[in-house]
């Protein structure tokens, strides 16, 4: 990393010398379109949301500044707090399940694929297919498969003598969140698999040969040589998983379970809470101010996670890499 920076600075010195008349017009031309579209259609609306969280609506549609009042309500009003902490907790469980199932599974599949078995390309392509599907489809399909009425899951399990294990997982408070998480794992495992696979392929052959000469077994090579080398990738996978829990997980839960996170809020996450608050439902009219407050809390929570990663984890990983 430092090497690149020093190279860049050294290089720019020569460039400056060489291109005195060049000016910066081309830099502006290169940057302006992206920065403009991004600022107008992404950043400005988000800032607008953050701003709204400091206001409260009146019944006539106008709004008044109330400072941090909405945050106070969300965190300390009994009715709001119970929903907020429950949603946050569920989000963390969701993250935890992804970390112990999705990412190790992605690692396993990637490791196996990196052995270059026959039909490796076909496996890789097919395992990635669920990632491409719309949550509308994924939600519908899994609801069908797990549905007691259709009986696909029950039938399959009876086929291998496990019929007694079947339960209406999506409908039980004890298992709904796990079931939804596993569906999400099914859908997205392709992404860590691909990223880790690519990282494994890039491990230099010389290192592996050296390890072999030292008499390490294949197993040991994987644990002692390959794994440490791909740790930065695993770090990126972890942080992407964390962010995804707050952003894309909503879509899936919304399409399988709806906006109330049933049963009894056991699958309610920050995303569904935000959506419900922001846009309302049935007899509940949306409250854009509280909605924006939940949205802003999500933003801060993501920011905290990313900061912890950048400050704590990534530094250590980079050192390891050196």
């Amino acid at each position: 990393m430092t090497e690149i920076v020093s190279e860049a600075s050294g290089h720019s010195k020569t460039k400056r010398r060489r291109r005195k008349t060049g000016g910066i017009s081309h830099i502006v031309v290169f940057l302006a379109p992206a920065v403009l579209i991004y600022s107008i259609f992404s950043i400005y609306p988000l800032i607008e949301s953050l701003r709204l969280s400091l206001f409260d609506g009146q019944s006539d549609g106008s709004s008044v500044w109330i400072g941090l009042g909405n945050y106070d309500r969300l965190l300390f009003d009994a009715n709001w707090a119970v929903r907020f902490w429950n949603a946050l907790w569920n989000n963390l469980i969701l993250f935890f399940i992804h970390m112990i199932v999705q990412n190790p599974l992605g690692l396993l599949l990637a490791a196996l694929l990196s052995l270059a078995p026959r039909f490796g390309g076909t496996y890789r392509t097919l395992i990635f297919v669920p990632t491409l599907l719309s949550v509308v489809i994924v939600g519908f399909v899994w609801e069908l498969i797990l549905s007691p009425l259709w009986g696909v899951a029950e039938g399959l399990m009876s086929g291998v003598g496990l019929g007694w294990l079947y339960a209406p997982w999506l409908g039980l408070e004890s298992s709904a969140l796990t079931a939804v998480s596993l569906i999400s794992v099914w859908q997205y495992v392709g992404i860590p698999m691909m990223l880790i696979y690519a990282a494994l392929l890039s491990v230099p052959d010389e290192l592996l040969d050296a390890a072999r000469v030292d008499g390490l077994s294949g197993w040991a090579i994987f644990w002692k040589v390959k794994l440490p080398l791909i740790l930065p990738t695993l770090g990126i996978v972890a942080i992407l998983t964390y962010i995804g829990n707050f952003t894309s997980a909503f879509d899936l839960i919304y399409s399988i379970q709806g906006v109330l996170g049933p049963p009894d809020y056991s699958t309610d996450i920050m995303g569904t809470l935000m959506f419900r608050t922001f846009f309302g439902q049935q007899t509940q009219i949306g409250d854009i101010y509280m909605g924006a407050t939940v949205a802003s809390m999500m933003f801060f929570i993501i920011l905290i996670g990313v900061t912890i990663y950048l400050v704590g984890v990534q530094r250590r990983l980079t050192r390891y890499e050196m």
Partner: protein
């Protein structure tokens, strides 16, 4: 380049000419959550309206029910909502009026065709201002597989005990699942179970009004008892009902695998198409022979005008038509199960719909208990009722806990309940 210019000018001229000729023609967009009704609007209602109003075109643009409120809200905020807006009842629409998003249509002549209770669902609390034309109410009850009943020698139950005897008999026979009901979609538990059988216990309007006035509490016996009955239902619901969704329940019944379906009358259209057996219907059973029966006859759907529409005149013309007897008859017969609230007299063709409408003669009508005033605060009573009703079915809350929670939530913000 020159050629292109000329073409554009020509097109512009054409447009101008056309504009002159059709200056009066406007298109009104209708917002609705009834995506199932697309064909009925396109094939029946819209042609009928356009025949009498050749200068107004209608465009029915439904959004899926689960997204309707969110999408409509966003469009209203952004100023892109349709000219005509399908209104949910009571507090589902009142805030839209308060915010100035729905227009005041109190002076619409056609409103005189409706009884006061119907208008109340879309009026301010003092009844001074009305903002939507009542379209229809839905009636709750139970639809049953008449062939199955005949096969097993069963009769429509009149009392709760008879109801459970019927369920027990079906259970024993084993051919059918007694009750097609699941708890995965929580609203199903709230509307098809709790507010379906509840009015019998809390005496319909009497109990509802008592809650609003603060004279009764959810913890009172009459609000706990329906949950106790629901807890008994679970023995007769399909195995794994906890994950049974609304459409699962529909399929279970129409495929002939379940015998009784706790229903809303809106199912009639679909069931008539899908089921290959005879169906019948009965109102919620009463406690003892001879008791008055109560039905949930919920003012469910109305239609109002976007306050910011560019074509208020045309929109009003349409609303007048919706208030007419012609619309009442067309709509009710196109959508048997959505019963017009109009005073107009007309025939209902569908036999199952006739049965439902006959409940109105035998029983007292009421609306869903939490729909008016009681769901105005946070936590939203109607939402809590969804969740808790499902919880009772799932056995994760006792009837006492469910009602205590409802009461605690309501009294936390609703003054009449606070003393």
């Amino acid at each position: 380049m020159k050629q292109m210019m000329m073409k554009t000018t020509a097109t512009a001229a054409l447009c101008l000419a056309a504009g002159g000729a059709l200056a009066q023609e406007v298109t009104l967009t209708i917002e609705s959550w009834r995506s199932e009704d697309q064909a009925i609007w396109d094939d029946t209602l819209i042609p009928a309206f356009e025949e009498s109003h050749p200068d107004i075109n209608l465009d029915f643009q439904p959004t899926a029910p689960t997204e309707y409120n969110a999408a409509l809200n966003a469009r209203l905020e952004g100023g892109t909502a349709g000219d005509l807006i399908t209104c949910r009842s009571f507090d589902g629409s009142l805030p839209l009026y308060d915010r100035g998003q729905l227009a005041d249509i109190s002076d619409l002549e056609g409103l005189s065709n409706f009884p006061d209770f119907a208008k109340a669902a879309w009026s301010t609390d003092d009844g001074q201002n009305t903002f939507c034309v009542p379209m229809a109410s839905v009636i709750h009850g139970f639809i049953y597989n008449a062939d199955a009943f005949e096969e097993l020698g069963l009769e429509e139950p009149g009392t709760v005990e008879e109801f459970f005897e019927v369920l027990e008999a079906i259970q024993e026979d084993g051919t059918y699942i007694p009750l097609a009901m699941g708890s995965a979609d929580q609203w199903e538990a709230a509307t098809m179970a709790y507010t379906n059988i509840g009015p019998t216990y809390w005496k319909g309007e009497e109990g509802r009004q008592a809650l609003i006035d603060g004279d009764a509490a959810f913890t009172d016996e009459e609000f706990v008892a329906p949950y106790e009955q629901m807890a008994r239902w679970t023995d007769y619901m399909g195995s794994a009902y906890q994950a049974q969704s609304y459409s699962d329940s529909q399929n279970l019944f129409t495929l002939g695998r379940a015998a009784i379906y706790p229903a809303g009358s809106w199912e009639i259209t679909g069931f008539t198409d899908q089921a290959f057996f005879e169906m019948g219907a009965f109102p919620p059973p009463v406690a003892a022979e001879g008791d008055t029966c109560y039905i949930s006859d919920h003012t469910d759907i109305g239609i109002g005008m976007n306050a910011n529409t560019d074509h208020p005149e045309a929109a009003r013309a349409f609303l007048e038509w919706v208030a007419s007897a012609e619309f009442a008859e067309l709509y009710t017969n196109a959508l048997p199960g959505f019963f017009s609230l109009s005073n107009a007299e007309f025939e209902v063709d569908n036999p199952l719909a006739q049965e439902f409408i006959s409940f109105r003669e035998e029983c007292e009508s009421t609306v869903r208990v939490a729909s008016q005033i009681l769901s105005r605060g946070e936590p939203n009573t109607w939402n809590t009722m969804w969740v808790n009703s499902a919880n009772v079915l799932n056995d994760s809350m006792t009837p006492e806990e469910a009602t205590a929670d409802l009461q605690q939530g309501l009294s936390s913000w609703y003054e009449p309940q606070q003393d």
